[in-house]
C-alpha cells in the first residue's frame, strides 16, 4: 500500500480549527473584493458598465471601487498598457496592501493583443502576477463577472491562516520599494523580448 498522504483542505496539516478559520477568512475576502479600476482604453467603458446598475457587480460584493490603491485589493487592468504607463501601473500595484489580486481584462493587458508594438507592454504579467486573464476586445461585462467568480473560487482555495501559523507568510507588504525585476515571483513570462540587431538575419 502506498502512503495515504492527506489531501484536500479538510485534512491537510494545520488541523480542523485552522481549516475553518481559513474558510472564514476566504469567505470574507472573496465576497468583499474592492476593485481598483485602472481603465486604460476601451475596456474601461465595459468596466464602467460592469460596475453600473445593469450588470451590477454589487451582487458579488465587488462594487466598492476605490480610486486610491491603498483601499483596494483587486486591480483590474482594463485596456492597453503602454510602456509609458507601465511604471505607474506597477506603482499602483505596489501601493495596494496585501492580500491583492489582479485581473488582466481584455487581450491588450493579457498579451498585448493586436498591438505587437514597441510602445505596448506585451501582457501585464511582465510587471505583476496576474490571477485571471479575460479574453475579448473588449470583453463583455459578463465575461469579466465570470473572471470575478473564477477569482472567488481561486481565493476559496487559499490558506491564509495556515500560512500565518506556519510562518511562511513572508509577504513583502505594500510599498513602492520593490525592485521591478522578477515581478512574477517565479512565474516565467511566456514571451521573449530580445532586440534584434539590424544585421540579424531574422530581421526582415
Amino acid at each position: 500500500m502506498g502512503s495515504l498522504k492527506p489531501a484536500g483542505p479538510s485534512s491537510a496539516e494545520g488541523g480542523f480549527l485552522a481549516t475553518r478559520a481559513d474558510w472564514l477568512v476566504n469567505w470574507g475576502r472573496k465576497n468583499s473584493l474592492w476593485p481598483m479600476p485602472l481603465g486604460l482604453s476601451c475596456c474601461g467603458i465595459e468596466l464602467m458598465a460592469m460596475i453600473g446598475p445593469r450588470f451590477d457587480i454589487a451582487r458579488f460584493g465587488a462594487e466598492a471601487a476605490r480610486f486610491s490603491p491603498r483601499q483596494c485589493d483587486l486591480l483590474i487592468v482594463a485596456g492597453t498598457l503602454t510602456w509609458k504607463m507601465a511604471e505607474a501601473c506597477r506603482t499602483i500595484y505596489d501601493q495596494m496592501p496585501d492580500p491583492k489580486w489582479v485581473i488582466a481584462m481584455g487581450v491588450c493587458s493579457s498579451s498585448g493583443g493586436m498591438y505587437d508594438s514597441y510602445s505596448v507592454v506585451q501582457g501585464v504579467d511582465m510587471l505583476m502576477p496576474v490571477d485571471v486573464y479575460v479574453p475579448g476586445c473588449p470583453p463583455r461585462p459578463d465575461a469579466v463577472i465570470d473572471a470575478l467568480l473564477k477569482l472567488q473560487k481561486k481565493i476559496e482555495r487559499e490558506q491564509p491562516v495556515k500560512l500565518l501559523l506556519s510562518g511562511d507568510n513572508l509577504d513583502e507588504g505594500a510599498g513602492t520599494h520593490h525592485s521591478f525585476y522578477a515581478p512574477n515571483k517565479g512565474i516565467p513570462t511566456t514571451r521573449s523580448h530580445e532586440v534584434l540587431s539590424p544585421d540579424d538575419p531574422r530581421k526582415d
Binding site: W83, F180, L196
Partner: protein
C-alpha cells in the same frame, strides 16, 4: 500655393534655394546654422504667424541622414511655407525655434523622441511618448525589430525608486 514674391526679398541674404514640392508648398532649403535667422525673418517680415509642425524624415543610409522639416502658416496671407535642413552624425542637432514659436515645444519634443534629433536650446527636451530610460528612437530606419527591452526599463525605474527613497 506659396507667394514666393512676398518671401524672396526677406530671405535673400540667407543663401537658401527655393524648391517646388508636390503639393505646391515652397520648400526653403537651409543649413542648421542659418535656420533660426531664416525662421525669424519668415515670422517677422513675411507674416507666418503659426508653426504648424516640426518633424523629420530619416533618409538612412543617405548622408547626412535626417531632413528636419518646419512648416509655417500665414493666416493673414492664406499660404504655407516649408523649411528644410539636413543634419547627420551621431548626435544630429538643430537650433530650437521655441523662442519664436512657443507652440513648437511639443513638436520638437516629439521629434526628439521619435528621431533623436536634438533641438539646441530647448528647455525641456525629454521623452514625450516613450518612457524615460528607453534608448531607441522608434521612427529611425535602423530601429530594431520590436525594440522592447524591459530589463533596461526596469533598471532605470529601480534607480529612480532608489533615488526617491534616499533621504
Amino acid at each position: 500655393m506659396t507667394d514666393l514674391d512676398r518671401i524672396r526679398p526677406a530671405i535673400a541674404g540667407l543663401a537658401v534655394e527655393t524648391l517646388a514640392s508636390r503639393d505646391g508648398i515652397a520648400v526653403l532649403e537651409t543649413t542648421p546654422a542659418q535656420l533660426h535667422e531664416l525662421v525669424a525673418r519668415l515670422r517677422d517680415a513675411c507674416g507666418f504667424e503659426l508653426c504648424t509642425f516640426v518633424t523629420a524624415v530619416d533618409r538612412f543610409p543617405a548622408d547626412p541622414r535626417f531632413e528636419v522639416l518646419w512648416q509655417l502658416q500665414s493666416i493673414a496671407h492664406g499660404d504655407r511655407v516649408r523649411v528644410r535642413a539636413r543634419v547627420g552624425g551621431e548626435r544630429p542637432s538643430v537650433p530650437t525655434i521655441v523662442d519664436l514659436y512657443p507652440g513648437a515645444a511639443f513638436s520638437e519634443r516629439e521629434c526628439f523622441d521619435m528621431f533623436g534629433v536634438v533641438f539646441e536650446g530647448h528647455a525641456g527636451l525629454k521623452r514625450l511618448l516613450m518612457p524615460e530610460g528607453y534608448e531607441h528612437f522608434p521612427l529611425r530606419k535602423d530601429f530594431p525589430h520590436q525594440g522592447i527591452e524591459p530589463d533596461r526599463l526596469y533598471r532605470e525605474w529601480d534607480r529612480r525608486r532608489h533615488e526617491k527613497a534616499a533621504p
